[in-house]
Symmetry: C2
Subunit: 213 residues, 2 copies
Amino acid sequence: MRKFKVPEVTIFRLSLYLRCLSELEEEGVEVISSAELGQRCGINPAQIRKDLAYFGEFGTRGVGYYVKDLKEDIKRIMGLDKEWEVALVGVGNLGRALLSYQGFKRHGFKISVAFDKVVDEERLSAMPEGCTLYHADKMVEVIRERKIKLAIIAVHFSEAQKVADVLVEAGIKGILNFAPVRLNVPKDVVVRHIDLGVELEMLTFFLSARIGK
Amino acid sequence: MRKFKVPEVTIFRLSLYLRCLSELEEEGVEVISSAELGQRCGINPAQIRKDLAYFGEFGTRGVGYYVKDLKEDIKRIMGLDKEWEVALVGVGNLGRALLSYQGFKRHGFKISVAFDKVVDEERLSAMPEGCTLYHADKMVEVIRERKIKLAIIAVHFSEAQKVADVLVEAGIKGILNFAPVRLNVPKDVVVRHIDLGVELEMLTFFLSARIGK
DNA sequence: CTTTTATTGTGAATGTACACACAATAAGTA
DNA sequence: TACTTATTGTGTGTACATTCACAATAAAAG
């Protein structure tokens, strides 16, 4: 396990590098320098090297990085060398959108169970191959049974904290939260928060400053 | 207009303060100190004061901040003292989820037009009150006509850049992008990027480091 | 009107992240 | 094997962000 603290932005950028490397691999590029990679993903080459240096030495001096190897290394660093099962809570509009999002698979994620207070034909028909819908009452049981560690909260904000509590009880260790609420969880549980309102508000700030609408 | 550069995190936090202040107002709290506000939203009180100091003096020494006033001030700072019309491009699963998201209204946003390559009964029936669906060909015309400045891209990644180009042509100045692609736009256009894949990958990094699955 | 109290606004200190510049070094070439 | 070339890995300086600590000051109390 790592000894030194790695900045969060570094992890964020690793994920960008990974996407870029996948593209390069598809294009048939075998070797790339930090300079070229930096160009492609809009990041300073020194930054890339520093980011990677937190985890070891992956390049070859005078040559660069072998695309395939670096991709595998970053995947391993980020824990993406195996598939992750994900539990989805809330099969409303957003939940269904997430279920149909094809991008997860490419990243090695699979929503294999979904939960809702209501189990009806509409929701059942939204389930893709390999994903089972359960009543919300079954959350602890099913998640424990399947040893799932990742969950997505896509319920109304008034219920988000309650859901989070149940997920923690069920053994979930990482939560992606779409509800506009700061979740209270034990510190061994990691939460990432996607807040559409905040994102739009940040846009309007920059716009007002510029166009002075 | 502001003379000094304001860090992006400060804008992010202003948005948090705003939400917190709205909650306080609903609870009937009239005055709050930076210490209490900091407690509530998990931010150092000195940080809050510094953030606000970029824009002026809003508190009363020995007393604190008047909730209602500060809320209005932050709204004004962020350009949220008027309603913003938003154009949505892509009425697939994600687009429909966004159309039904009630949170936007609370923040003063209104999706008033939507565009898709396909205009069929399924999509038309997803339109809420006050939102019109147009064929994608009408983008430039409608957006210019209505002088809309904000747009959300919720199309397949293979089309995102093309859509962005059209939006820029139509006069859009702020884009919220859900497609996993770094958009290329003129520098007077602001883009915020929501990348589900990256968010999940960041989770697995922290998890792997902890539970070493 | 003066003193006390509470809390802001801010200069200075600390901590963190970024970018530069170069020594270290792997591979290719003579 | 020695030399050249390209590019990494990293020590160092700089810029930026956060936190501390206190002087400034508004309101309340005497």
